[in-house]
């Protein structure tokens, strides 16, 4: 019997050699004039959230249970990036199995916010957001199930997009909650995200939830938006996504940005989505239920960690699985699996999971009604700016509240994005969220680009001009 050796990159999940080789290969093609038909971002390097499988490069989901696992295949989005000649810089940090809002639940230690390294970058995709905010990469990919791209975007002053559910293939995205997960772009401006989403999006037969349509014309919409003319665009303020629990500085920047949209010709209306009050509760039934099912595959059999039972305990397969999962999963993941198992219990499945699915219908209907009155909906992305490391760890519930404004879009399958709206009174970034109807991502890209342009006019440049970057001075 052969025990294969564990491969574990002792240093960072930076794939330096692979990135250089990929870049050299693209440069050869470029020099030979062989880049006909490649996308606009061809050759630009990118970092990838370690929740997306990359052939030959360790992929861990920031979990001990996959430590050292090297995927034998690429996710569809990775295949597309490689075809575009975009070098993969490495795999970025996240909360374990994308479960968290601060990246503090990574089995490999937290990521720090470049705006204040004593603070979190948000989560679950804090690594991608921090990397882009700190100029370690111009672009990154993330995954968003309840806000994991958008909330870190908000906390780090970057752009983060969750496309329409089914707009980007999930083949090769490590599954967390299959009816909520989406892969999406992370960048420093709206146009970059649009161009990246056009590369990774589109139909894929290997994902049965992938929508059989092309990516909507989002880069065109972004470029239109940069003209700063929003006449005819109806912007809906979601009544339920403001007020109690939202920091004053966050609300102030949000309201100023809404005024800026108005000054560019947008018509602002208030929309009432009463069932959004139930979104968090429904999410914390649906998400753990799907997590408990999706994480059942980590059982020490075919890949990942295997821990045999201690002496005295029968050395059976069942016991091995139980001890492997006990050792391999962190506290937050275990918590959510147990919650999900409970919600799906025989005899209660309809009453609990079934009820949550009904709330989902009500939220979808609320949004559909809202989109009769507005072309795009807006809200703050996160109720607060970046909190300190350790601040929200003692009570899981306070952490869960970070996603109160982002969860509704995942529940409804609608596209949503966050762009920087300025700094709060504490000097930390605030995010402004746009939401559009299903399959009409372009309806959010246009006003988002317009707002970005208008804000940068006010600031005399991009938001990151206010970011101190001591590490750039020491970079060689």
């Amino acid at each position: 019997m052969t025990l294969p050796s564990r491969i574990c990159t002792p240093s960072l999940h930076v794939s330096a050699d692979e990135a250089r080789a990929q870049a050299d290969e693209f440069d050869k093609k470029n020099a030979a004039g062989d880049t006909e038909g490649l996308p606009e971002l061809a050759g630009v390097p990118i970092a990838i959230k370690d929740m997306i499988v990359t052939k030959g490069i360790p992929t861990t989901a920031a979990s001990k249970i996959l430590e050292g696992w090297v995927p034998p295949y690429d996710a569809t989005v990775i295949t597309k990036l490689k075809a575009a000649g975009m070098p993969l810089l490495g795999k970025t940090n996240l909360d374990e199995f994308a479960q968290g809002s601060s990246t503090e639940h990574s089995a490999f230690g937290p990521t720090h916010n470049p705006w204040d390294t004593e603070r979190v970058p948000g989560g679950s995709g804090g690594g991608s957001a921090s990397a882009v905010a700190a100029f370690e990469a111009p672009l990154a990919l993330g995954t968003d199930t309840g806000g994991s791209i958008r909330q870190p975007g908000s906390l780090t002053g970057t752009v983060g997009v969750k496309p329409t559910y089914g707009g980007v293939s999930r083949f090769g995205a490590i599954a967390m909650a299959s009816s909520l997960d989406q892969i999406g772009p992370v960048s420093r401006n709206v146009l970059d995200s649009a161009l990246l989403q056009e590369i990774i999006g589109g139909h894929d037969v290997r994902d049965s939830t992938s929508i059989p349509m092309d990516v909507p014309p989002i880069a065109k919409a972004a470029r239109e938006g940069y003209k700063r003319d929003l006449k005819g665009v109806r912007v809906g303020l979601v009544k339920q996504l403001s007020g109690d629990g939202y920091q004053p500085g966050v609300e102030a920047r949000f309201n100023e940005a809404v005024q800026l949209l108005q000054s560019m010709g947008a018509e602002v209306v208030e929309v009432d989505c009463p069932h959004i009050e139930y979104a968090l509760a429904a999410y914390y039934i649906i998400m753990p239920s799907e997590v408990s099912s999706n994480l059942a595959r980590y059982d020490g059999m075919r890949y990942g960690l295997r821990v045999m039972p201690p002496e005295g305990v029968p050395q059976t397969a069942a016991n091995m699985m139980a001890y492997t999962r006990e050792a391999g999963f962190g506290d937050e993941v275990k918590r959510r699996i147990i919650l999900g198992i409970y919600a799906l219990s025989a005899g209660y499945y309809d009453a609990w999971y079934g009820s949550a699915q009904k709330v989902r219908t009500l939220i979808i209907d609320d949004f559909a009604k809202a989109f009769e009155k507005a072309d795009v909906l807006v809200a703050p992305t996160s109720p607060t700016t970046a909190f300190k490391l350790g601040e929200k760890l003692s009570d899981p519930l306070t952490m869960y509240m970070s996603d109160v404004a982002t969860i509704p879009a995942n529940m409804a399958g609608i596209p949503a994005m966050s762009i920087p709206a300025g700094l709060s009174d504490d000097g930390l970034p605030v995010g402004f969220q746009f939401m559009a109807p299903q399959k009409h991502d372009e309806q959010m890209y246009k006003p988002a680009a317009a707002l970005e342009a208008a804000l940068e006019d006010q600031w005399g440049g991009a938001i990151w001009q206010s970011l101190k970057t001591p590490w750039l001075d020491s970079a060689k």
Binding site: M1, P4, Y165, L280, R302, R306, A318, I338, A343, K439
Partner: protein
């Protein structure tokens, strides 16, 4: 809804195939209340006349073209395995112990 009993948590751990420690099982009794509260809350609006939604962007099932695709090779499929023998995954024995 009452706080979760110790027996319930241990039973859930068994169903989840996680060998929870004593400390974890005790701690979780309180932590699981978030789901109890969530369940109560959604019941407020989940009436009989509302249809449940499974997929928020419903599609009609479609088939892919009947063209063979290249699967993983045996080596690739075995490449992450904790233990292999003669091109097979090796698992601990299935029978022969209590739980």
């Amino acid at each position: 809804m009452p706080t979760f009993t110790r027996e319930t948590v241990e039973h859930l751990g068994h169903l989840a195939q996680i060998a929870l420690t004593d400390e974890e099982a005790t701690r979780m009794q309180g932590e699981l209340n978030v789901i109890a509260d969530s369940i109560n809350k959604v019941q407020e609006v989940a009436s009989d006349d509302v249809e449940p939604t499974a997929n928020p962007v419903p599609l009609e099932a479609y088939l892919r073209p009947d063209v063979p695709e290249k699967p993983l090779t045996r080596e690739e499929a075995l490449s992450g395995a904790p233990a292999t023998e003669d091109g097979m995954f090796v698992a601990p024995r299935i029978l022969g112990g209590d739980e």
